[in-house]
């Protein structure tokens, strides 16, 4: 049953993505930036997906600390890994855009820098997990760190914004504008990304459950 649902979501995500890509190819070039403008249809949805992942990881971590149910720990780690992948996608697309628009691969602009800091924060989470052997302690310590990291995200974003900003004003919420039908297309692509993230998370979640079962069987074998 779970497999079938997952399959349907995955198929929907791929179809939606294919449709979106097709539509995006058909769009005219933007007046100032040219074709590279179209990267925004992927760049921003990836950031939104990554941010959603960190939010889910935060609540899953709190839920683990309260209930000590390992399902929440599995959700936290799965969603963090997927979020990291999307954040990496966001950084890479941002970098490509920067190369074309500004002529440089990397600039220490506020958004890029804070995305990188967040990426490092959650990479630290995964490294901490790898270093701890005992599953209960691993889950507890990782959950504590995840809470610390999530609280840091807004502080990082604001402090780096004050430090210096050189990013183009965001297209949404920041004075930029986009034709209405383009926005609808963009919103559909956010949905496509979210669906992909859900499928990835579910697959990773199952892997984590198997891993836990294997660990427990291994301990059982050692005890014999």
């Amino acid at each position: 049953m779970r497999d079938k649902i997952l399959f349907v979501i995955g198929a929907a995500a791929i179809l939606l993505l294919a449709r979106d890509i097709n539509a995006i190819i058909g769009l005219p070039e933007e007046r100032n930036q040219g074709i590279i403008f179209k990267i925004i249809f992927f760049h921003v949805p990836m950031a939104i997906t990554a941010l959603t992942c960190s939010l889910v990881a935060f609540f899953a971590s709190i839920a683990f600390l309260i209930t000590k149910n390992f399902k929440f720990d599995a959700v936290a780690v799965a969603v963090t890994e997927v979020g990291l992948a999307f954040l990496a996608g966001n950084l890479i697309t941002g970098s490509i855009w920067g190369r074309v628009a500004w002529g440089i691969w990397w600039t220490w602009d506020a958004r890029l820098t804070s995305a990188l800091v967040c990426w490092l924060l959650y990479a630290g989470y995964l490294m901490l997990r790898r270093a701890i052997e005992e599953p209960t302690q691993r889950a507890t310590f990782a959950a504590v760190f995840s809470i610390f990291a999530f609280i840091d995200v807004p502080i990082v974003v604001f402090s780096i914004k004050w430090w210096r900003t050189q990013h183009p004003a965001p297209v949404f919420w920041g004075g930029g504008s986009m034709p209405k039908d383009w926005f609808a297309l963009w919103a559909w692509n956010v949905l496509a990304m979210m669906l992909i993230a859900i499928v990835f998370t579910a697959v990773r979640l199952r892997q984590e459950e198997f891993q836990r079962e294997i660990d427990s069987l291994r301990r059982e074998a050692h005890a014999l």
């Binding site: 610390f148 502080i155 604001f158 780096i160």
Partner: protein, 231 residues
């Protein structure tokens, strides 16, 4: 058997004195931290020309990198000190709240890190020909706030990493990214204070952020420390 009423403050003070006394007997960590700070100050003089005006402009950044790296050596020892004879077990078993244990240790770390910083600061002034004393009270306030940020997260992460392999490496990997906002604030403010410019409406947002960071992470650490200690 009469148990005297032991106030929370006295429990914190007991842990605080114990940690300081144990460290000052051997001075292992503080000596290592101090020599490391000196080495870094020396290395920076090769990386950046000390006589250049531009180096003085980034002095706050240099100083806080020295503080953060040297401080890590001290913070690493904080819970590792308890491992040798399984002392952590006895502390957890003792009838004091986890938060008192945490606060005592964090305060002891704070004093040790401050001591290293207050020795490194005049040396920095001499080596780089910086008149750092002109805004002394405000500079001290920034150093106190920045150092507390470093020690509060450093102490809780020292507890998280105490039992794992690669403890010494993991602590800075976890602590520095979390600290970035606090370090940014401390660097900004220190640079202008060292240059003789007091904190104004222009940069007091950084001061507020530093205070907010300290308050927020102190509160979260106090709430979560019992979970870290006993699960």
């Amino acid at each position: 058997m009469g148990y005297a009423r032991l106030g929370y403050a006295r429990q914190v003070a007991t842990i605080f004195t114990k940690d300081l006394r144990a460290e000052l007997r051997t001075k292992e960590a503080i000596n290592a931290s101090l020599s490391f700070a000196l080495v870094m100050l020396l290395l920076f003089s090769f990386a950046f020309d000390p006589s250049e005006e531009t180096t003085r402009e980034i002095s706050g950044g240099l100083l806080w990198i020295v503080f953060a790296f040297a401080g890590t050596l001290l913070l690493n020892r904080s819970f590792a000190r308890e491992l040798g004879n399984d002392c952590l077990d006895a502390l957890i078993a003792a009838p004091i709240p986890g938060s008192a244990l945490f606060l005592g240790k964090a305060l002891a770390n704070f004093v040790l890190v401050m001591a290293v910083e207050l020795i490194a600061l005049p040396l920095f002034g001499i080596f780089y020909n910086v008149k750092w004393t002109s805004q002394f009270p405000q500079l001290m306030m920034v150093i106190v706030l920045g150092t507390w940020a470093m020690t509060v997260t450093g102490t809780i992460f020292s507890a998280l990493t105490v039992n794992i392999r690669l403890r010494e490496v993991m602590l800075p990997i976890l602590n520095f990214p979390i600290l970035i906002p606090a370090l940014l604030g401390a660097m900004q403010l220190t640079s202008s204070l060292v240059a003789g410019k007091p904190i104004t409406a222009d940069n007091d947002a950084w001061l507020k952020m530093l205070i907010g960071f300290d308050v927020m992470y102190t509160a979260v650490s106090l709430v979560l420390v019992e979970t870290v200690l006993v699960g």
